[in-house]
């Protein structure tokens, strides 16, 4: 291989690793910010990418962006609820130095008042309970049972406005693809 071709390929490879991928352009990534996060733009401006939120996360829910969500949110934390949902332990807010993640005590009232990662949405065409097969797994997985999610006859789930979007329902849904999904706050806005 000639030196010039080698250098050009090296430069192309480096550029590819440093630039946003096509997925970001399609907007195909559905991710949550950790609990207590400020709105998306303030969060990106305040997060210094220290990674402590991920380090203290006992459930290993928090991952970090490469370039797939654009350069601006590189190295910021996110959660894919279907892979590993948030257990609302609120440790990430404790270690966040900049207030990008608010410090919220681990009690039902402040969590309901301040955490807003998104809101779960049931797809009745996929949900087993709505299809006549009693399931109710999402209801049982919910840490805010009977507040964020209720069940009707045949364990059909109904999500209320109190839902904080932790994603444990989506994580536990036994249907493939999942019949309940968290719609992130920054998408619904």
């Amino acid at each position: 291989m000639q030196r010039r071709t080698f250098l050009i390929r090296l430069a192309a490879g480096v550029a590819a690793s440093q630039l946003p991928s096509a997925q970001a352009a399609r907007g195909g990534l559905r991710y949550l910010r950790p609990p207590g996060a400020q709105d998306e733009s303030a969060f990106v401006a305040n997060c210094i990418r220290c990674g402590k939120c991920g380090e203290v996360c006992p459930n290993r829910s928090i991952q970090f962006f490469g370039n797939e969500n654009g350069f601006a949110s590189r190295d910021t934390p996110y959660i894919i609820p279907r892979e590993q949902a948030c257990i609302l332990c609120m440790k990430c807010g404790e270690v966040c130095p900049t207030g990008a993640l608010a410090r919220i005590p681990r009690e039902a009232a402040p969590i309901l008042a301040k955490v807003d990662m998104g809101k779960a949405q049931v797809n009745e065409d996929l949900c087993l309970s709505y299809q006549g097969k009693t399931c109710g797994v999402c209801y049982r997985a919910c840490p805010l049972q009977d507040v964020a999610i209720r069940v009707q006859r045949l364990e059909q789930p109904v999500v209320s406005d109190a839902c904080v979007g932790c994603g444990l329902c989506e994580r536990s849904c036994i249907q493939l693809p999942q019949a309940i999904r968290v719609i992130p706050r920054h998408v619904t806005v």
Binding site: I48, C50, F71, D75
Partner: protein
């Protein structure tokens, strides 16, 4: 070896560079250890020892052996030490890199005092001690110095590596550009081009999350830059944090100074200085990171840490050297002639 020689070798200043290496290594080892402890904490939090793979069990056992003496509840207690040199939590106190604070202010255009205060200790330390962070703590310096040693071996093996002299204030331009870009994009972009922040993060990604990220590529490029453009080039010419620390340390109190009466012009200090400064000509300036390599290299103990606000003006050739004696003879001859 005479007795006075033996005594001199035991002097602390001869060991300063080793002490500094100890400090750099400790920081780096800690940065490797923290992700491992984080994994261990996840295992303990999950009460899942029985479900672990053999390799994971080994990690669990080693970490338990390391921490067992200090804690009965690792899942909670080990959260006492978290983070990297970019921003860390130490036993309830948070401490952050001043560059992190400046960048966060630029990106968000707000002052969040609890965060600003976390940079107070490093800020004061840099104002008093100069680029002490660069020389004694920075995990990137640890790798850059190893990389520089590799460069020396390559040179010795006959491979020509350039050491261009670039425009030194370039790094201040990088710092300014980084902050302006942070303000424009509303995102802490300096975090992506600041090696110690990258190292801390990438070690965590690589060890705990199972793969290095895009920052690792950038860091490898800076290693190449040091070989292909200028020795320790990134620290000297491009590092935004180094620029900030240089500015903060402009009026530092702790400086290395040359005792001209003991200097014999051997140039070992200039060769030891990876930053390409001129200790033998009293040229330290705000770039000097007080690393003490020149002090340890000096065979006549002519370089010392001093408490001074300013560098000495150039003092001319050392009094133990040829040049100075020649000068003296010339002036004596002139006196006799007159």
């Amino acid at each position: 070896m005479s007795r006075s020689d033996a005594k001199r070798h035991l002097l602390l200043r001869r060991q300063l560079n080793k002490l500094r290496w100890l400090s750099l290594s400790l920081v780096f080892v800690t940065l490797v250890l923290l992700p491992l402890l984080s994994i261990y904490q996840n295992y303990t939090a999950a009460h899942a020892y029985d479900l672990l793979e053999p390799g994971q069990k080994q990690l669990y056992d080693v970490m338990e052996w390391l921490t067992g003496a200090f804690t009965d509840d690792p899942a909670t207690d080990l959260n006492a030490v978290k983070g990297t040199t970019w921003s860390a939590s130490l036993f309830g106190y948070k401490i952050s890199d001043p560059l992190a604070v400046v960048s966060q202010i630029a990106a968000s255009l707000t002052l969040y005092w609890p965060f600003v205060l976390t940079a107070l200790v490093p800020l004061v330390a840099s104002m008093l001690l100069g680029r002490i962070y660069c020389g004694w703590i920075c995990p990137a310096t640890f790798l850059y110095e190893l990389n520089d040693n590799l460069g020396s071996w390559l040179r010795r093996a006959g491979i020509q590596l350039p050491d261009r002299v670039l425009w030194r204030p370039l790094k201040y331009l990088v710092l300014a550009t980084g902050l302006v870009l942070a303000a424009i994009t509303g995102s802490v972009v300096t975090a992506a081009i600041y090696p110690p922040a990258i190292i801390g993060r990438e070690l965590y990604y690589g060890i705990a999350l199972g793969g290095f990220g895009a920052g690792a590529v950038f860091f490898l490029l800076t290693l190449l830059f040091d070989h292909l453009v200028a020795r320790r080039g990134f620290c000297r010419y491009l590092c935004p944090g180094g620029a900030l620390y240089s500015l903060l340390g402009r009026f530092r109190v702790l400086r290395i100074q040359r005792d001209v009466a003991n200097c014999n012009d051997c140039t070992k200090c200039n060769a030891a200085c990876q930053f390409g400064l001129d200790p033998m000509g009293d040229g330290f300036g705000q770039e000097c990171n007080n690393c003490s390599a020149c002090i340890s290299a000096c065979p006549t103990d002519a370089l010392l840490f001093k408490l001074r606000i300013n560098d000495l003006p150039a003092q001319g050739p050392g009094h133990l050297g040829h040049a100075y004696r020649k000068q003296r003879h010339v002036s004596r001859d002139e006196n006799q002639a007159a």
